[in-house]
Amino acid sequence: MGKIEWAMWANEQALAAGFIYLTGGIVGVAGQFSGWKFAAFGIAAGVFVCLLEYPRSKRIKGTNFERTGQYCFTVCVKAFGPLTRNYYVRAFLHAVLCIPGGFMLATVLGCVCLGIASLIYLSAAIHGEHWEPILPEAEPTKHVSQSIKQPPQNPPPRPPADMRRKRLDDLEAAAYVNPIPVRE
């Protein structure tokens, strides 16, 4: 199959799973189902997962597709350093978050979906992928070459004027070699 970036797919899955977890939690709490405390946890976990997964990672090769307005989320997620960079940590985190959802009917779907996303993240981590923030590239500073700052003090060396005068009768002798090589 070639080099597949599992993390991209896992990211989409985790975002959708967070949303499903959140919706299931809302239905559970609003309907006052038995075990609604699990539903309340589902709401909190769903929101947390959505916020964590919103900023996309930079691709290894190719164009990056940013989500709308993801820059502030990128900065927040980047601040946690290796915790969010490493996909093993993410896989473990999602697995832990999904377990309480399995105890209640309304959140069981969110639990299963988040579990699948956790497995795909594990696969991504095994393949050596990690999360890279997409940051706007800084403008490269205009490099001013040194010679502009120090213009030459003297004119270029030339042979004396009577040698430079065109002598049509003796072209061979009139030719001279420039001491400094002329660049074309």
């Binding site: 070639g2 991209m8 797919w9 899955q13 309907g31 189902f33 009917l105 069981v108």
Partner: protein
């Protein structure tokens, strides 16, 4: 330029008509089912038990039925190709609507996801209602076995999981990054439909069959004697008495309940069989392997493969999509003997890199390699051809073709066809705009362009073909220095094309005409073109926008 009503209707009218029709039909069936379950006599007892959850779940289920059947139809590519080809049946407007088939498929898919969420939410509420309001009066209605039992819906959970996998793998970034994930997960649709057909057989929701004999809200016969003591003057015998409704109805028999006939089967089986038949046909047709006639390596990582296949009839501009969206190709560039067809492949991802390695294992510079008897090529299977918007170029009097990089291939086929015989088409003038990043890319079709240009000049039609070549990333001044490409020499411009000025010029030279605009270029260019086509045009020209897409 502001928005022009005439241009907007020409470009967007048909699409929006279909969209509004689809929305109205969905809204109507949602509303009709909702009312039926809310106030229908045969659902009275069920409604009393479940409440609003029943109505919403059933109404969303009907909309899901509609969308699950519609979602398959735009993907029957061979059938759409045949429809596109029959000139007698469909007009140009209908063919342009067929270009939007993939968009319609995506719309139906999104609707399925949204209504699935609604349906699942409503059923969760139903589960609680079945449990809490366990009916002792009508035990046949219950799904729970006892009060307080929670009822699982295994098929429903499975459906949502499959839908989850399919939906998350079909986002734009996953399709562009890893097309294989999208392709293999999307083929889980067959599992989805099989489980869907099983899901509706469950029969959890029942309707009352004997509404005439047992009108809802009637009083059982053994309770009427108690009433007759308190009102001795009233006659009670099963007929409606207008004055007092409470003791007016007596049940002749007990209520009988029966699960529905699975209506989903009627909606879904037809399109499913049609689509499966089409896939089978494509598989069989694709199985005949093609013979590779020649492989040519062009500059900028492009390979041209000329092939021969039995009974492969294709028209100029048709395409053969392949597994990886990194491959851009078009088929049916007829050669002199009109039997071979060719594809151009740009090596971008690892699939294409493997492909090029197999075909040209140890080549370093551009050379034309004819097939020798000793060379062993890999077995190649080609799916297609399928209709595409570019076939319409010949049906306009004036056409504008804008190509970006390798997207020129459909238009190259058009030009091959014009080189053969340009007089028999309706097309009178062709504007060809080709934007590339590197100068060497123009060499892919430089000979073809010059050949066509020369032929048209010799046959006294110099205004037929207008070539504009644009080189976007150029550090120094460059040009096509070869003597035989002189016509292109003066038509090469450095920088991005100024499409607005180009459109103004085309509008001035072709007043009150319908101009077909064909685009096979990156998103930025195609978006700009689309906006220009919808804008105001002072010269009365209408630009009709047709876009090619490959992923």
């Amino acid at each position: 330029m502001g928005l022009s009503l005439r241009s907007w209707i020409a470009n967007e009218g048909g699409k929006h008509c279909i969209l509004i029709t689809w929305l109205s039909v969905s809204a109507w069936i949602f509303w009709r089912t909702f009312i039926l379950y809310c106030s229908g006599a045969e659902y009275h007892y069920l409604h009393k038990m479940l409440g609003l959850g029943l109505c919403i779940s059933r109404a969303s289920a009907t909309v899901l039925n509609l969308n699950c059947s519609l979602v398959l139809l735009p993907m029957c590519r061979s059938i759409l190709t045949v429809l596109r080809g029959t000139r007698q049946v469909s007009s140009k407007k209908a063919r342009r609507l067929l270009d939007k088939s993939k968009t319609f498929h995506v719309t139906c898919g999104v609707a399925i996801c949204v209504f699935s969420v609604v349906h699942v939410g409503a059923h969760l509420v139903n589960v609680v209602s079945f449990s809490v309001r366990y009916s002792d009066e009508f035990p046949a209605l219950n799904v729970a076995h006892y009060r307080g039992q929670s009822v699982p819906g295994i098929t429903g959970v499975l459906l949502v999981l499959v839908l989850f996998l399919m939906f998350t793998a079909s986002s734009h970034s996953v399709r562009v990054g890893n097309y294989e994930i999208f392709w293999y997960t999307h083929n889980l649709f067959i599992l989805f439909y099989v489980v869907l057909l099983m899901h509706v057989v469950g029969g959890a929701l029942k309707y009352q069959t004997n509404v005439d004999a047992h009108p809802p809200g009637c009083i059982p016969a053994n309770q009427t004697r108690a009433h007759s003591d308190t009102w001795p003057n009233q006659e009670v015998d099963g007929e409606l008495v207008a004055e007092s409704r409470e003791m007016s109805l007596v049940c002749k028999e007990d209520a009988h309940f029966q699960p529905h006939f699975p209506q989903t089967w009627l909606w879904v089986l037809g399109p499913l069989c049609l689509y499966c038949g089409e896939r089978l046909y494509r598989y069989i047709r694709c199985n005949a392997s093609v013979t590779i006639v020649s492989v040519v390596r062009h500059p900028c990582d492009v390979i041209e493969v000329r092939m021969l296949k039995n009974s492969f009839k294709a028209r100029p501009g048709q395409v053969s999509p392949t597994l990886s969206s990194a491959v851009m190709n078009s088929s049916s560039c007829p050669t002199e003997n009109k039997e071979t067809f060719g594809i151009h492949v740009r090596v971008v991802g690892d699939w294409t890199a493997c492909f090029s390695e197999l075909l040209l294992p140890d080549l370093e510079h551009s050379e034309i390699l004819p097939m020798t008897n000793q060379r062993r090529y890999p077995k190649l299977y080609v799916d297609g051809p399928f209709g595409s918007p570019s076939e319409e170029v010949f049906n306009y009097e004036v056409s504008v073709c804008v190509a970006g990089g390798i997207g020129v291939t459909p238009f190259a086929c058009i030009m091959h066809a014009l080189l053969d015989e340009w007089r028999r088409y309706k097309l009178q003038r062709l504007y060809f705009v080709w934007v590339c990043r590197e100068l060497n890319s123009f060499y892919w079709f430089a000979e073809l362009l010059c050949g066509l240009h020369r032929k048209l000049w010799e046959q006294n039609r110099p205004d037929y073909l207008n070539i504009r070549l644009y080189l976007t990333t150029a550090q120094e001044l460059q040009n096509l220095t070869d003597e035989k490409y002189r016509p292109l020499h003066s038509r090469l411009l450095i920088g991005r094309p100024k499409l607005k000025l180009l459109f103004e010029e085309i509008g001035r030279s072709n007043q009150h005409k319908k101009v077909g605009v064909f685009c096979c270029a990156p998103k930025g260019v195609s978006r700009e073109l689309h906006k220009l086509c919808n804008s105001f045009s002072a010269s009365g020209t209408v630009f009709e926008y047709n876009k090619e897409s490959f992923s």
